[in-house]
Symmetry: C2
Subunit: 328 residues, 2 copies
Amino acid sequence: MANISDVAKLANVSVATVSRYLNNSGYVGKKSRAQIEEAIKQLNYTPSEVARTLTTKQSDLIGLIIPDINNPFFPELARAVEDTAFRHGYTVILCNSDEDIEKEQHYIKALSKKYVAGLILTTILDQDNYSNNLSIPIVALDRPLNVNIPTVTTDNEKGAKIGTQYLIENGVSNILCISGPKSVTSTNLRLKGFFKAVEGNNVEIHMVESKHDFQTAEQLTYETLQAHPEIDGIFAFSDASAIGALKAAHRLGLKVPEQLQIVGFDGIQMGKVVTPSLTTVAQDIYKLGERATQILIEQIEGKSTNSFSEQIEPQLLIRETTKERGPL
Amino acid sequence: MANISDVAKLANVSVATVSRYLNNSGYVGKKSRAQIEEAIKQLNYTPSEVARTLTTKQSDLIGLIIPDINNPFFPELARAVEDTAFRHGYTVILCNSDEDIEKEQHYIKALSKKYVAGLILTTILDQDNYSNNLSIPIVALDRPLNVNIPTVTTDNEKGAKIGTQYLIENGVSNILCISGPKSVTSTNLRLKGFFKAVEGNNVEIHMVESKHDFQTAEQLTYETLQAHPEIDGIFAFSDASAIGALKAAHRLGLKVPEQLQIVGFDGIQMGKVVTPSLTTVAQDIYKLGERATQILIEQIEGKSTNSFSEQIEPQLLIRETTKERGPL
């Protein structure tokens, strides 16, 4: 049976617009109106009570606190949260904590006291330092908080393991690992996966810690590659860092992947756009945002949920910064 | 005389933190506290009444509505707004209208009714279709609204003119212009500048309209360059589009800048990271965000302002996607 999303899709308008149309509340443009009517006819759609209540929820806001708006991973994640929230009649307001604990605390306090029905938090705090004394539902996204708060993350350990393994299988014997800030839980899980992959293999490793930022990673990589020209592979804990590393390789005249292979982590759009395109451990960014939002909304609406600590599978995307594996 | 910003800078903490310290309100970490005390001593700083009132303003929120969180220009702009707002004791909440008029209207209504002291709007509406019936201060950023609303923009016409002129001066005789959505005022101003630059010069032009998005621009450029291999220069209305065009050139095996020169618009960080690095008409992103926020705060605080319609100068950044000009 067709639902309101099907109507919105066929009519090429948002669910919120269909909802306004159905409830005869708020503005719906002439063209949208005609498209919705046509879609309803084609799909033989009968609005359910659920759809009818969407409008009343339109005023409900969800707060999303992200740590770094300049790392493209987070805008892409925010889009997924927004899409899902809108489909359920909620609106998202965003705050950028800028990896600053005080800003984060300030936003949590400001939003939770007065503004939002629930909060999605990609925190910079490690999980031991967080105590939940908020009176509104909260979901941790990308970075776990603590055992009492539903959490949606990628399987970070597994992701780092398969990315590193792929470099080793491709003949890399001297790896530079560009990790993220050590204060973040996901960094430590990725470190664990990285070390599991190198364990027992005859590879030399170099470690640097970088913000997930093009320019910081570029500079660190440039310096490290100059000091250690024997490095033949890089595993970076974000695509932003990997793209910075790629730039450093270009500046040093190194051929990628012939002389230096690079694997990133995240799966942001930009990885496809750089040349050569970036091999990466892709997170399912859309699913991460979608599940976090769905779980939060279930909590806001008082539906019970057992969906604590969901882990989403990462996937290795093989592109051009790694050599093609020959037959084993 | 030292002010609170100097203290914050020297102590390497945010102004908000210094403010909390001075007012003895809210949490200030041990380390931050020691750094602030040291900075106050070193600078011989005496807190003024202005500084003392900062804390009370901490609860004031500014709303910032951006049209496309996935175009890195807007996150960079948002950072500038946040920095400035924080320096003045305000906090920013962000909404992503996703280039959707209905979402934009929804956010404006939701925020202005209940949440924020003022609103900064990078609207998708053209200026004729906007009527201001809000009861809170509002500033238009990047895209003008109408004559009664303070506006901070880059001189878009001039920017497009100097970018296009530079291509022509570098020997380009067949230009592809990748414009932005025609519904946006800044697009039309840039078109005007583009046509002024080509006028009277013996250059052939091709026009395509693209979202400011890597992949849309890449695909459009790929198709256009295949159909018109005689094109030897591209002027794109955003760096995101220019970076997509650069990818298309790589896919077609075209050498940049030898066979194809590219100039972008915006000056985002990523332009430095791609290879070859992007020549671009840089907007002063920080200043745009800073001025819009300052003007808004003046309005919120009831200080009179005559700063209507400020235009910020663009600047041509010559990097590697254009040929070096020889002696004329």
